[in-house]
Amino acid sequence: MISKRILVLILCTGIFITGCTQVRPWERGYLAREEMLWDADALERQLNDHIFFSKEASSGGSSAAGGGCGCN
């Protein structure tokens, strides 16, 4: 059962990837803009992760990483 699910997931991913437009290198100017970064401001992202980690039960899922803290 699990292997079937994995197969479906791989097929869906393949269809999604191949279904996307073939963007030529010279057509990637907008994607190269600074405001299109996953993390446009690294320090801002680190600070937010630290605050939300301290005030909510959830954490993770971000590219920023760091150690724990005794934050209350």
Partner: protein, 385 residues
């Protein structure tokens, strides 16, 4: 917003045509960047209804962040991050019932808490033709807490570099040694370990949009209880699962970019959460940018959460009145102003966060009276040379 020539040059001239829309480009930064940000974080006071006796004030924290990123040769970059926090205030100590049977909060010590946190981390990254690989080590210290951590991560591009596979692995070892341990019968010295693994896939959808999905697993073991709560006992193992999705779309007409992020979280304390984050990066001419953002967060309660501590229950049975383990929702919004002044970039940020059980997307059977509200203001400066 003015484009820095180096960014455009990277985008148009590298053979791999690395996509900044996909976390790290396949070329090291072309110039040194020195960044500094100072922030003040202040929580609203609680009311006398919520806290019948003692302190009403909560945390007030100043945060200083420094970062230096430098290219080394043609294929390497190094980074150094240093953070310093100075905090004072009080936090919920235990919860009891008032005359009406409603939960009320008792705050920690009449004189409040004072603490400092210093952190230093160093990273390096190697850039290949169609990917990159790097790592970091770090250390942070407080008066009552120490953390050492290490991590590695990388990316590989394929499908004409329209698709990228990313991976990461990290480990943290923490020591906990509460202050006034003898006076309040707290634990003296405990430890905690956290290990994470993550994989992700990014895809260029068209010339205006990119999408990323990532999955991570974190295993925590050791002392996961809050030593400063009077009646707090938690399991000593926790598994956290996170599925995160990000979408970026550039709008040519208004010269702006939409950032949309969604995170699904679940752990075996019984907590599930949803986080939605939206931001609009609006360019104003060549030199200025304004970024409003809105975030919604909601979580279910931990299996052992209680909003009134049961002091007759032995600590061998798990329970906690920590508001962070209750069911609630939170709405936050902020605005950022960014000015590009040649080699200098200045950023001003203001943010407001309000948590409330009424905002919860999950059923709330035991609302916490200690949910937090805060204001955060930051000023940041970057200098490239």
């Amino acid at each position: 917003m003015k484009r820095k020539p180096s960014r455009g040059l990277i985008a148009l001239s590298t053979t791999a045509l690395a996509l900044p829309g996909i976390s790290s480009a396949d070329a090291p930064p072309t110039e040194n960047t020195l960044s500094y940000k100072i922030s003040n974080y202040k929580e609203d006071d609680l009311s006398r209804e919520q806290v019948p006796f003692g302190e009403l004030g909560r945390y007030d924290i100043d945060v200083h962040q420094f970062q230096y990123v430098a290219p080394v040769g043609r294929n390497f970059s190094v980074s150094v991050d240093a953070n310093y926090e100075n905090m004072s205030g009080a936090s919920p100590w235990f919860s009891t019932a008032n005359a009406d049977g409603e939960p009320v909060i008792n705050m920690s010590g009449a004189s409040g808490i004072r603490d400092r946190r210093s952190e230093l981390s160093i990273g390096a990254r190697y850039y290949m033709e169609n990917g990159n690989f790097g790592g970091y080590v770090g250390y942070s210290e407080e008066d009552d807490y120490r953390s050492s951590y290490i991590g590695v991560s990388g990316e590989i591009g394929f499908n004409n570099d329209l698709t990228r596979f990313s991976y990461g692995f990290s480990h943290a070892a923490d020591d906990i040694f509460p202050t006034d341990a003898e006076l309040f019968n707290r634990v003296r010295n405990e430890d905690k370990q956290s290990t994470s693994a993550a994989v992700g896939l990014s895809q260029v959808i068209n010339q205006f949009s990119v999408f990323q999905t990532a999955f991570s697993v974190t295993e925590q073991s050791g002392f996961l209880t809050d030593p400063y709560k009077l009646q707090d006992s938690r399991p000593d193992n926790k598994t956290q699962l996170v599925l995160s999705n990000s979408y970026r779309h550039f709008f040519v007409g208004p010269d702006a970019a939409l950032h949309a992020d969604y995170r699904l979280y679940h752990d075996d304390f019984g907590i599930t959460s949803h986080t939605v984050d939206l931001a609009w990066y609006q360019n104003l001419g060549r030199d200025y940018q304004i970024v409003p953002n809105l975030r919604y967060y909601t979580q279910s309660a931990a299996d052992f959460y209680t909003n009134i501590d049961d002091f007759l229950k032995p600590l061998s049975e798990h329970q906690s009145s920590d508001y962070r383990l209750s069911a609630f929702g939170a709405i936050s919004g902020g605005i950022h102003f960014i000015a590009d002044l040649g080699d200098w970039t200045a950023t001003l940020t203001a943010e407001r966060y309000i948590a409330n059980d009424k905002y919860s997307g999950f059923e709330v059977t035991q609302p916490s009276p200690a949910l937090v509200r805060f204001v955060r203001v930051s000023i940041g400066i970057d200098y490239s040379f």
